[in-house]
């Protein structure tokens, strides 16, 4: 039986007041889960809460079986090293080249010799399709290329969970499809669990095993894309059919 890597138990998230309340969800090992919902529904905030950045206003976030926010920082860091996060605004360090950005977790957190680090970075950049941009600065590549670099950095330590906040937003369909394929490849090759925030239905159909629909301040539905598409819930129906139509 699969084990729950991430659990949200009656979690409320937000900054001053809750945008999402009583969120209950479980994410199991090896699955790709999409967080869906309209703009401002709290998808990204929930993602940030799950990866230790925004404490929940209420409830418990359990990562790898431990209550993330009840742990002291020293005990939290080893847990956080088992996840990788690709942010919506890529969050690459502007003063470092792409390869230095991707190598940073390896240099900071492992004692691997430099040739292995270089090779790992080269392989990962090739995998996400930007092997020839290794020496460029983030400011000198396109938005899509920066997103790929961010994904390479998030995955370089072979994390057990990869969180990706809108990894295909604003990209052309060809590049978006390649990134979707890369996420699936991460699951197959690294055995990673992937939690992705996305608006792109085609992208979610191609990658996600399950989707969690957020609407009206809580979880509106959980299921496969097909199940959600046939949901009678008003918000879910509008989300899918407004896009389909």
């Amino acid at each position: 039986m699969s084990e729950s890597l991430l659990q949200c138990i009656d979690v409320s998230v937000g900054y001053d007041k809750p945008v999402l309340e009583r969120v209950n969800l479980e994410i199991e090992s090896g699955e790709i889960v999409a967080l869906l919902g309209g703009s401002g529904c709290g998808k990204s905030t929930l993602l940030r809460t799950c990866c230790g950045l925004v404490p929940p206003l209420d409830g418990d976030v359990r990562l790898f079986g431990q209550s993330l926010y009840e742990l002291p920082p020293d005990s939290r860091n080893p847990l956080l090293r088992r996840i990788g996060v690709a942010f919506q605004q890529d969050a690459l360090f502007s003063s470092m080249t792409i390869e230095d950005n991707v190598a940073l977790p390896l240099r900071e957190l492992t004692k691997l010799p430099a040739p292995i680090i270089r090779e790992m970075v080269r392989m990962r950049l090739e995998l996400v399709g930007i092997g020839d941009l290794a020496r460029r600065m983030p400011a000198n590549v396109s938005g899509g290329q920066r997103k790929r670099a961010a994904l390479a950095r998030a995955s370089i330590l072979d994390p057990e969970i990869i969180f990706a906040d809108e990894p295909t937003a604003g990209l052309d369909p060809v590049v978006a499809t390649e990134i979707d394929a890369t996420l699936v490849k991460f699951r197959e090759a690294l055995g990673s669990t992937i939690v992705v925030v996305s608006h792109e239905l085609e992208s979610i159909r191609a990658t996600a095993d399950r989707a969690i629909m957020l609407a009206d301040g809580s979880v509106a539905a959980i299921g496969t894309i097909d199940e959600l598409q046939h949901s009678q819930d008003r918000a879910v129906y509008e989300f899918f059919h407004a896009r389909a139509g």
Partner: protein
């Protein structure tokens, strides 16, 4: 589970049996073993036996890729044996072939380097000239009420640049006035000419130090702030947004800041002149037994309106040096947050350098004019 390796030799073939996980903590050990084998000239083939390997992660795949390349380079071969499905899945992380390396560049020659630098300086000067021209033009349009700056912006900038700097400029001028008086008193006392401390403090504060110390403080506070603010706006495309709206960024952003500096710098300089003199007066009274009335009479007698005009005139020039440099470098920030940092640093360095150079030019011209 840690990796153990055992090596068996059969002629020119070495079989390496791996046991355990080949992951980040163990990859270093596997790499060391394989590299040692790779260096042996009597080994033409290495077989890596994965029969007892558990997990294989990216670091393990990287080690295998490195070794494959190294073996190929010396005409040897690396074979992977007893791979399980999850090992093969992990090996898919490696690209099918070596990425094309960008062609090595010889870099520019020294002559090209000088040429590029000259062009860069010319471009900077052209940009500066354009900024000054546009600012004068937009300033004229605002003065003649044909265009407007954002309501209240000049007043806000005056408060921000001026009121907040009063304490620090005042304190530094007072201490500077005291220091000049101390230094002068020690020497002048030897000649019985203590009373001339007043002349010394008055002239040096009014002609030189008040404009200079005010300009240096404003460069650090205001110049850096302007460059950072405009740089951030440039990086965030706010300046582009103004341009596409048909609103002149010079009128909207530069004119109010320069107008405020044009007012604030001489005002603070005037304040610094009197506070510096007060600092000198205190030292003269306490150290030289010079009465405040005598000190003040000397100041009034020796320091003329022309000296004040010289100091205030310089402060106006300094204000424009700070404002134009900060606006120019801030608006040229390109790309990312680090360029804003660079613009801010360069503003402080370039402004102070220019201020000192212009001050030296002023001193030379005025001295020559006085002696003729």
């Amino acid at each position: 589970m840690p990796t153990a390796t055992s090596v068996e030799r059969s002629g020119r073939t070495a079989v390496v049996r791996l046991r355990g996980d080949v992951v980040v903590p163990t990859a270093r050990h596997v790499y060391g073993t394989l590299r040692a084998l790779c260096r042996r000239r009597d080994v033409k083939k290495v077989v890596l036996d994965f029969g007892e390997v558990g997990k294989l992660d990216s670091s393990g795949v990287a080690v295998i890729e490195l070794m494959k390349r190294a073996m190929r380079q010396r005409g040897a071969e690396l074979e992977l044996d007893h791979l399980e499905q999850h090992h093969e899945a992990a090996l898919e992380l490696a690209p099918p072939q070596q990425a094309k390396q960008p062609p090595a560049s010889d870099g520019p020659t020294w002559l090209e380097g000088i040429g590029a630098r000259v062009l860069e300086v010319a471009d900077t000067l052209r940009g500066l000239a354009r900024l000054v021209g546009d600012t004068v033009k937009q300033g004229w349009l605002v003065t003649t009420r044909r265009r407007r700056v954002p309501q209240g912006s000049i007043g806000d900038h005056i408060l921000e640049m001026g009121a907040d700097a009063v304490f620090i400029v005042g304190l530094l001028s007072f201490l500077l006035g005291m220091t000049i008086a101390f230094q002068g008193a020690v020497q002048l006392q030897k000649f019985g000419a203590s009373v001339f401390v007043a002349d010394m403090v008055g002239w040096s504060m009014v002609r030189e130090f008040a404009p200079l110390i005010t300009a240096i403080v404003l460069t650090g506070r205001t110049g850096a702030a302007i460059a950072a603010e405009l740089g951030t706006m440039r990086v965030g495309s706010e300046i582009d947004a103004l341009t596409t709206m048909g609103v002149s960024p010079i009128r909207f952003l530069v004119v109010p800041r320069l107008a405020a500096l044009t007012f604030v710098q001489p005002a603070l300089t005037l304040m610094a002149m009197f506070i510096g003199i007060a600092g000198g007066l205190l030292v003269a009274a306490l150290m030289l037994d010079l009465s405040p009335a005598t000190f003040w009479t000397h100041i009034v007698y020796r320091v003329k309106i022309g000296d004040f005009a010289q100091g205030l005139g310089k402060s106006l020039v300094f204000a424009w040096i700070i404002g134009v440099t900060a606006c120019h470098l801030g608006m040229r920030a390109i790309g990312d947050a680090s360029s804003v940092g660079r613009a801010t640093t360069r503003t402080v360095v370039v402004s102070i350098f220019m201020i000192v150079v212009v001050d030296a030019i002023f001193a030379t011209i005025i001295t020559i004019a006085r002696t003729h």
